[in-house]
């Protein structure tokens, strides 16, 4: 019969105390696993999101971190706007692979509504580097003045938006709805990125927002006017034997796609329409300058930010340096740097949490040691019998150490299973409610935890083992003595 079996028998003889010890160690380990997964999920979510762009153009008023948080994480405000021309310049820049415009400021039930182009679904990826546009339920919106929306998975789950749903937005966190109505054409798959929390609409429609208090009737009226203008223009063009607008009509839109035509045909803000922007000075739309809420013509109001994917990440520093010297009110920030700085700020908190959990496991270990130590006194006769049948002091030492190791290992395995089960159970909830993607599954960390527990078990077994080693044999062989 092996020492291992003897140790196991000793533990099973004291089932309750052994089970409670395993439970306490297991809970500590499970908590460690869950917190590590949560931390990794949160960090991964941030880093994966930051990976989407090589640079972000934002207003010089805003801090670089503010620009990144607002643009990519849909947190806070943009801190101002940048000229539309900055977007045009970026597109024309030879270093830029593609540029994605961002116009933000409106909300739907607490979720940011992002005016952008469909390139965003190509630029942003999930943790597995799969573009957001892949595996969308439905489809992504069509660029142009199409009142379509693509909704992040968490936003959809929270708000109840499904394909075909229509919705209106509010300015900021206010309750006053704008009159425009969008139709949901696609729901993004869960990605574990902030995109899960947002609603994406074509930027052209974003510039149409602003009919505060006028409602849908006004919007319908304006649409009719625009259609009439287009029909008139088409008729004129046909009369001249030209088919200038055929391209856009070909994909089912009644308006032109190029910017100039959008200005002419699709824009709803004329000076006499009463859409007031402080920034413009002549309109009454009450947006404070500097909040990044961009309603009006795109030239007047500009953008909140522009996401930049360069032809090569090597160009980042050069691009940022060029922006510093060349582009006036626009600054370029590297999102990865900002996220790294953000984690430098918050990582002590994460470390503190980790240490608290480690302390919990140590306390559980000390409890195990005390429990084992106390049982040794009651096991003096058992130890004496072992010695009497030929066990050497070292055998007794090994058996008691093995008991401690078994308790720690079983606690560790139980904790790993419990921890991962917890992660698997809470992962969908966290993904839909917090946008944090928890990666379930065993990893090298688990092996490390077990390895640490082996060392830990050895240490906490030492004191009881030495006590067992010193147990006098002859004096403890008889129950009456």
């Amino acid at each position: 019969m092996s020492r291992l079996r003897l140790a196991w028998r000793s533990l099973t003889q004291r089932r309750l105390s052994s089970a409670l010890t395993i439970l306490s160690i297991g809970l500590g380990v499970a908590l460690t696993i869950a917190i590590m997964a949560l931390r990794a999920g949160a960090e991964g979510s941030y880093h994966n999101t930051a990976r989407g762009y090589d640079a972000i153009l934002g207003p010089t008023h805003g801090s670089p971190l503010q620009i990144v948080l607002n643009t990519m994480f849909h947190v806070g405000d943009a801190g101002g706007t940048i000229p539309w021309q900055a977007y045009e310049d970026a597109k024309a820049d030879g270093q830029v692979k593609y540029a994605v415009p961002y116009a933000v400021g409106d909300m739907f039930h607490g979720h940011h509504v992002v005016g952008t182009s469909s390139l965003i679904f190509k630029a942003l990826e999930d943790g597995d580097a799969v573009p957001l546009g892949e595996e969308v339920r439905g489809r992504i919106f069509t660029d142009g003045l199409n009142w379509e929306a693509v909704v992040g998975s968490m936003c959809a789950a929270r708000t109840g938006l499904v394909r075909g749903s229509t919705f209106r937005v509010t300015h900021g966190v206010g309750t006053a709805e704008h009159g425009e109505t969008w139709t949901v054409v696609g729901i993004l798959r869960p990605t574990g990125t902030p995109a899960d929390r947002a609603i994406f609409i074509p930027i052209e429609t974003f510039y149409e927002i602003g009919d505060h208090g006028k409602g849908a009737d006004y919007q319908a009226e304006r649409r009719k006017e625009r259609e009439a203008e287009r029909e008139k223009a088409a008729a004129e063009a046909a009369a001249k034997g030209k088919g200038k607008n055929d391209g856009s009509a070909g994909h089912g839109h009644a308006h032109a796609d190029n910017d100039d035509e959008q200005d002419d045909n699709g824009h709803a803000h004329d000076d006499d329409e009463g859409h007031a922007h402080e920034e413009g000075g002549e309109e009454g739309h009450a947006h404070e300058e500097g909040d990044g809420h961009v309603h009006g013509t795109k030239e007047e109001l500009g953008l909140s930010a522009v996401g930049i994917r360069l032809k090569s990440p090597i160009l980042r520093l050069r691009f940022v340096a060029d922006m510093r010297s060349d582009r006036g009110p626009v600054q370029a920030v590297i999102p990865q740097d900002q996220v790294r700085e953000l984690f430098d700020i918050i990582s002590p908190l994460g470390k503190l949490l980790t240490w608290i959990v480690i302390m919990m496991v140590i306390v559980a270990g000390i409890g195990t040691m005390v429990g084992l130590y106390n049982t040794i006194h009651g096991r003096r006769r058992e130890i004496a019998i072992l010695r009497a049948v030929g066990a050497k002091p070292l055998d007794v030492f090994v058996i008691i150490i093995t008991e401690a190791l078994l308790l720690c290992m079983l606690g560790g395995v139980f904790g790993l299973l419990l921890g991962h089960a917890t992660v698997i159970l809470i992962a969908p909830f966290l993904l839909t409610q917090a946008g944090v993607f928890l990666s379930a599954g065993f990893s090298a960390l688990d092996a490390w935890i077990l390895l640490v527990l082996v060392g830990f078990g050895f240490i906490i077994g030492l004191l009881p083992a030495f006590q067992g080693l010193r147990t006098p044999v002859a004096a403890n062989l008889h129950p009456t003595e």
Binding site: L386, G390, A391, K392, P393, L477, H478
Partner: protein, 226 residues
């Protein structure tokens, strides 16, 4: 000529008393037991019978004198060396059986061989055979608390003899049993010892039990007389 199973010369063991003095627990000038020989050792309570067995088995070190088991010296050795020698050559049958409550009957018997060097894979089969030999072939998985007192004693006998020791030490082996069971137990012990050619030293104050032995020594307080 083969070495005797047990040879004791001028053995002395003393303890400190609570007043700081010492008292002699065992004094034994000479005792030889050959292989296959069965010896009874008579002694009143407090005469040092159990202490003598502890010293012979190496559980306690001797103050002076010499103990040899199967030709190997038990005295003058480290505790670990005495443990190894005990595991190799001695089977111990305790007055209170000293079965481990957490182990099954089979495991308790195996325990007697667990610490014997070079037993290899044999212990389990040897334990099964020993249990069958004492009539408990159908009680392998029983814990001591699930066995009667007589069955517990038989498990203890199986444990003491399963490893085929050179010397079996039995400390009041029948004191926990009624007369009929004591007889059965002794019959079993003597038969088992005879079959395995082990030497047997039984200490007891029970004259009825000692009457079964052809050779009986008497241990007196701090002295032994033949």
């Amino acid at each position: 000529m083969p070495e005797p199973a047990l040879r004791v010369r001028d053995l002395r063991k003393s303890f400190r008393d609570p007043e700081g003095g010492t008292f002699v627990a065992v004094e034994l000038p000479s005792l030889d037991i050959d292989r296959g020989e069965v010896v009874g050792l008579r002694g009143e309570s407090g005469s040092g019978k159990t202490t003598l067995l502890h010293v012979i088995s190496g559980i306690l070190p001797a103050d002076s004198g010499r103990v040899e088991v199967a030709g190997e010296s038990m005295t003058g050795r480290s505790e670990t060396a005495r443990d190894a020698l005990r595991a190799r050559h001695i089977g111990y049958l305790f007055q209170t059986f000293n079965l481990l409550p957490g182990l099954t009957a089979l495991e308790n018997v195996q325990l007697g061989m667990t610490f014997r060097p070079r037993m290899g894979a044999a212990p389990r089969q040897a334990a099964i055979d020993a249990l069958a030999r004492v009539g408990l072939a159908d009680r392998h998985g029983y814990k001591p608390s699930q066995l009667s007192v007589g069955q517990q004693q038989r498990v203890a006998i199986a444990r003491a003899l399963a490893g085929h020791p050179t010397l079996v030490l039995a400390d009041e082996p029948t004191s926990s049993l009624d007369e009929a069971r004591a007889e059965q137990c002794l019959d079993l012990l003597l038969e088992f010892v005879r079959e395995s050619q082990a030497a047997l030293l039984v200490v007891s104050h029970d004259e009825r039990l000692l009457a079964r032995f052809a050779r009986v020594e008497t241990l007196r307080a701090a002295e032994v007389t033949a």
